[in-house]
């Protein structure tokens, strides 16, 4: 465990740790492009220069191992000058694309330029023009001009996704990123290359031009795409959610997430949601305030709780399961709770990196609670009981993400045979149009609108908090079941619709502003 000094601060680091790792663990800042904690070291961008006492030349922090007693400095004028020139070289052939570049606002070049920029370029050479808007595959677009050849994306496809699609072609200032002939960047993790690209060279087709990043707020949450439970950040503004990016968690997902998980925001946005409580009449739907509807139809459930079945999916939080199950088992002494397992044959599938066949965030939490409450029901019993009229009301806590429930239509049809069906779900579904008269639909909150705990495949409990409100009238499963039980509930509609529950601090530090306010010259592009 060598001891070193970083900018005057004593730090003990792990054996074999590089200087950049030491600086990172010590929460100090260092400019860098090619180093990424989840990838191997390349040492190509030459931006992470540090001064080491006793060494006349600057060294790169990402490829120098800390040794005992090292005195490291990365705030001296010499270091700043090196970063400044390094940056200027990166920009020799860089296009003036910020206005049309999706990365603007979170771009490594912009950030470092604010810090170390020369503001007075001395390069008089003509810029080398390269290919723009290269279609790399189904998810990613490449702009070879903007690329700074840090090789992060290449190393990602080599080391993490192990698909080896990308490479650097040609030499010198003609070098560019590309795919091998006839190949596409098409793997289940391809969008991670967009995240790690420090500039706007790789952009996501899904997010491209939909928002400028400075219009988005972010908040941490958990991916509901599968039972791995990757830690994610969701980006949203008052128009809805726009993208999902991974957040580092050593125990769960490392630095990455899969491409399918990035689509979870689509089921949360208003256009995919059930907005009102609805009752199907022969002539069509009649709309109600969800809470009022739930309370109104409570007699269906409370009249004879023994004849009511509760169908539950693995998409809810542990807290909701606990409260709802105790309502069912303790208050009514009913054990008619049935687990709707989507594609049971795929439950134990795993692709070797992150994605699991169990497409529910909380199957483990549900199974544990079913066991704790002594419930061991079989799906086929439910169908028989419905057919023999032993059960005449079915309450369903349906999926947030119906696309991963291939048996949705079939289940809906078989459950609709019951005398009354109360379907609670956050997202809308085209099949709802065909439900028989007398069916009730109650909108629930999605995972970004509530807080709770998910238990992932390995039994790890992960807490997440509320991000924002999208459908202010929607209920949580607990609230809906409390109302169905005929109890009163004080529900205050959230006035802060689509406003961050935990606003993030302004990331532009005052110092930056002070420094750049008057240096910026118009027309000096």
């Amino acid at each position: 465990m060598p001891k070193c000094t970083i900018n005057g601060q004593e730090v003990v680091v792990k054996d074999g740790a590089t200087i950049i790792e030491a600086i990172h663990h010590n929460n100090q800042k260092i400019a860098h492009y090619c180093w990424h904690p989840g990838l191997s070291v390349a040492g190509v961008c030459r931006l992470c220069m540090v001064e080491i006492e006793g060494n006349p030349r600057l060294q790169i922090a990402c490829n120098t191992v800390v040794s005992e007693g090292m005195k490291i400095n990365n705030t001296s004028e010499k270091v700043k000058d090196a970063a400044k020139w390094g940056l200027d070289f990166h920009l020799i052939n860089h296009p003036l694309d910020c206005p049309i570049c999706d990365q603007a606002g979170e771009c490594g070049l912009q950030d470092q330029y604010m810090e170390f920029g020369k503001y007075d370029p001395e390069m008089a050479e003509r810029k080398v023009k390269k290919k723009k808007v290269v279609d790399l595959g189904p998810t990613v677009v490449l702009d070879t001009e903007r690329c700074i050849l840090c090789s992060r994306c290449v190393r990602f496809t080599d080391e993490v996704s192990k698909t080896n699609e990308l490479g650097i072609f040609n030499r010198g200032d003609r070098s560019e990123i590309g795919t091998f002939d006839g190949k596409e960047l098409d793997n289940k993790y391809s969008l991670n290359t967009v995240d790690i690209c420090p500039v706007g060279a790789l952009t996501s087709k899904d997010f491209r031009f939909r928002q400028r990043v400075w219009y988005l707020k972010d908040a941490q949450s958990i991916c509901t795409g599968c039972s791995t439970g990757c830690n994610v950040k969701v980006y949203f503004n008052k128009e809805g959610l726009f993208r999902v990016k991974p957040v580092f968690n050593e125990k769960v997902n490392g630095y990455w997430m899969c491409d399918e998980g990035r689509d979870i925001y689509k089921f949360v946005n208003k256009n995919a949601r059930l907005l009102k409580g609805k009752k199907k009449k022969p002539t069509g739907f009649e709309e109600f305030f969800p809470g009022a509807l739930a309370k109104d139809i409570s007699s269906l459930v409370t009249a004879d709780p023994g004849k009511v079945a509760f169908v539950v999916t693995g998409q809810f939080t542990n807290e909701e399961y606990d409260q709802v199950f105790s309502l069912w088992t303790k208050k009514w002494g009913s054990k008619n709770i049935f687990h709707w397992l989507n594609s049971p044959e795929k439950q134990n599938e795993f692709d070797g990196l992150l994605l699991r066949g169990d497409r529910n965030p909380n199957t483990q939490g549900l199974l544990k609670r079913l066991k704790d409450f002594g419930i061991s029901t079989q799906w086929k019993d439910l169908i028989t009981k419905i057919n023999t009229h032993e059960i005449d009301t079915v309450v369903v806590a349906g999926p947030e993400n119906p696309i991963w429930f291939p048996d949705f239509k079939e289940k809906l049809a078989s459950l609709a045979k019951a005398k009354s069906l109360i379907w609670m779900q956050s997202s809308n579904h085209p099949e709802f149009e065909n439900v028989p008269a007398g069916t009730y639909l109650i909108p629930l909150k999605s995972f970004v609108e509530k807080e709770g705990t998910f238990t992932n495949y390995s039994g790890l409990d992960q807490k997440f908090s509320k991000v924002t409100t999208i459908v202010s009238e929607a209920l949580t499963l607990t609230e809906a079941c409390t109302l169905l039980a005929g109890e009163n509930l004080m529900i205050r509609p959230d006035p802060n619709v689509l406003i961050a529950a935990h606003p993030t601090a302004d990331r532009v530090t005052l110092e930056h502003r002070k420094k750049n306010e008057f240096v910026f010259r118009r027309g000096a592009l």
């Binding site: 003036l96 910020c98 206005p99 049309i100 603007a104 050479e125 003509r126 810029k127 023009k129 290919k131 723009k132 808007v133 491209r208 031009f209 939909r210 400028r212 400075w214 219009y215 118009r522 592009l525």
Partner: protein, 174 residues
């Protein structure tokens, strides 16, 4: 807000003040009737005031040589606008050298405070504030100006050309 009331001899005897006011008004009336030319008011709308050509009036979206919009949908104007009256929807252009362009650009002119910040923010000289300021409308008039109005309204005679041309920029090696 607070109102200060000062009690004094003068405002107790207001009648003299009223007559002083009437005297001034009457004096101007007679003067203007005798010499119509030096009257400071205009017979609007028959007579119009000539503002400086640099007057910051209604917005114009400039066009390129081929008549297409110069705007790149970078949204800097919308970001800079203190009245939040600019709405832009960007889209992918089929020409990779253009890449991004607005399929919808709208200025709510009634909310605009004519500060000119949008013009200043634009990196490509795509939005300018023109000298035009008389844009009345009767019932149901459209004050949400869209691309058609901002760039191609008849007064602009096919569009105002921008000073910044990408092709020339690329040719000069930038």
């Amino acid at each position: 807000m607070s109102v200060v009331q000062r009690k004094s001899k003068e405002n107790e005897w207001y009648l003299s003040g009223i007559f002083a006011g009437l005297w001034i008004t009457g004096k101007h009336l007679v003067k203007n009737l005798l010499n119509k030319k030096q009257m400071p008011t205009l017979n609007y709308p028959e007579e119009k005031y000539e503002y400086s050509p640099r007057f910051k009036g209604n917005h114009v979206l400039t066009v390129k040589k081929d008549g297409s919009l110069r705007c790149t949908a970078c949204m800097l104007c919308a970001t800079n606008c203190p009245a939040e009256c600019i709405t832009i929807v960007a889209s992918e252009h089929e020409d990779p050298t253009v890449e991004k362009f607005p399929i919808h650009y709208q200025i709510d002119i009634l909310r605009c405070v004519f500060c000119g910040f949008c013009e200043e923010a634009c990196p490509v000289d795509a939005v300018r504030m023109g000298p035009e300021w008389q844009t009345p409308g009767i019932n149901g008039a459209q004050f949400n100006y869209d691309i058609n109005h901002l760039a191609y309204r008849p007064q602009l005679k096919g569009g105002i050309q921008t000073v910044l041309d990408d092709e020339e920029r690329h040719k000069s090696g930038i």
